[in-house]
Amino acid sequence: MKKILISIVAIASIAVLPLAAQAQTSQTWNEKSAELTKVLETKGDPERGAAAFVPCQGCHRSDAMGKSSGAYPRLAGQHASVLLKQMTDIRSGLRNNPKMEEYVEDHLAKPENMADIAAYVSALPIVEDKVGRGPGTAIQAGKTLFERDCVQCHGNNGEGDAQKFYPMVAAQHYRYLLRELHYIRDGDRGNSNPDMVKVVKPYREADLEALADYMSSLPPPKK
């Protein structure tokens, strides 16, 4: 009797576990952290944001265009909501970013600083010639994959969706996009949306390169 009970419990928990785990990950993605909730409620002032952004310029550059080498992403013109989600995820360690983390631990502890920076940076123009492009040889292949698997979130022109925290991926540096796709596929970007991970998982190297080639070739979307 006891044995039977144990096996019933065991079977039940095996059956339930994967579901529970899955529910938990998507819930973690959708659930706003306390810090994100707070900064989203804070009204940003772009003028103060320009001063608060100074410590970021050594890496992201004074025009927030990052580096065409892809070492540092373009932030200019990115949706404010996306900037805020990524900043809070980096601060909490949900998204792994050892180079940046130490600089924002104290500086961005003030919600005003984050809100101000997001207001300032999201309004900066995207300087097209500073975007690091890919080889340009796989744009068509990338477009096919993107239209099949990515447009529902990142939009037809790679414009993303501010309401849903989906980043603009058009006109981002090739090498940065490629690095992120690897992190997303291999589970190294802690905050990746689980539904995106599902579509990216089966991709081979050539697919990732094609997608990055395509996204980096897209012109800055009209707002």
């Binding site: 103060r48 001063a51 608060a52 100074v54 410590p55 970021c56 310029q57 050594g58 890496c59 550059r61 004074s62 580096k67 080498s69 070492a71 540092y72 050892p98 180079k99 130490e102 600089y103 631990e105 104290d106 500086h107 003030k110 005003e112 600083n113 101000d116």
Partner: protein, 224 residues
Amino acid sequence: MKIAEFKSLSATPRGYRIGMTARLAALLLGFGMAGLAHAQDAQTTAATVCAACHGADGNSLAPMFPTLAGLQENYIVKQLNDFMSGKRKNDMMSPIAAQLKPEDVQPLAAYFSKQKRARGTSTNRMAASAGKVLYNQGNDETGVPACIGCHQPKGAGSEGASGLQNYTYPKLANQQIDYIKSQLKNFATGERSNDPNRFMRVTAKRMTDEEMEEVAQYLAGVGD
């Protein structure tokens, strides 16, 4: 002047500082008695007290003493306050700061910030040109941010306004080579820890000794 202070001054290791110590002791004695009650005394104090190390016009002639001429007023005020409160410590500068009264700080800062900074020279051209790259581009491999991001082109620095997120980024152009290196080392080890938000401690910790030398060489001869 307290005995302990005297000791820490006399205990400075290098020989060429010892002759100065006697002169300093005399300076400090006079300084302590006269005090610095009036704002208009800033220039006199500079000439009689600070000049021994920093030069009368704030252009230092010795490698380990920082040039003060043309440093931002806000920044000098902050450093003097930090020396006075013990947030920043130095065997030579701390006893001097201990003699200052709070009302001396602003006039001295105003005086030195208005002096014209003399051009410096780098002593190693090759190192200086590598330093220029690091200053403007940083090191992407190791995550050293480009200094230009905070300290502005050619080490000009920028005046912080008041407010939540404004810091004063000190002028580095034409500063003494040895002084720049010593500060980078001190930030890296945490011996100097008065930088806001750990900005310089984090930055210097990521730098190699070679990079410190190079960037100091670049800044020393950067010109106007």
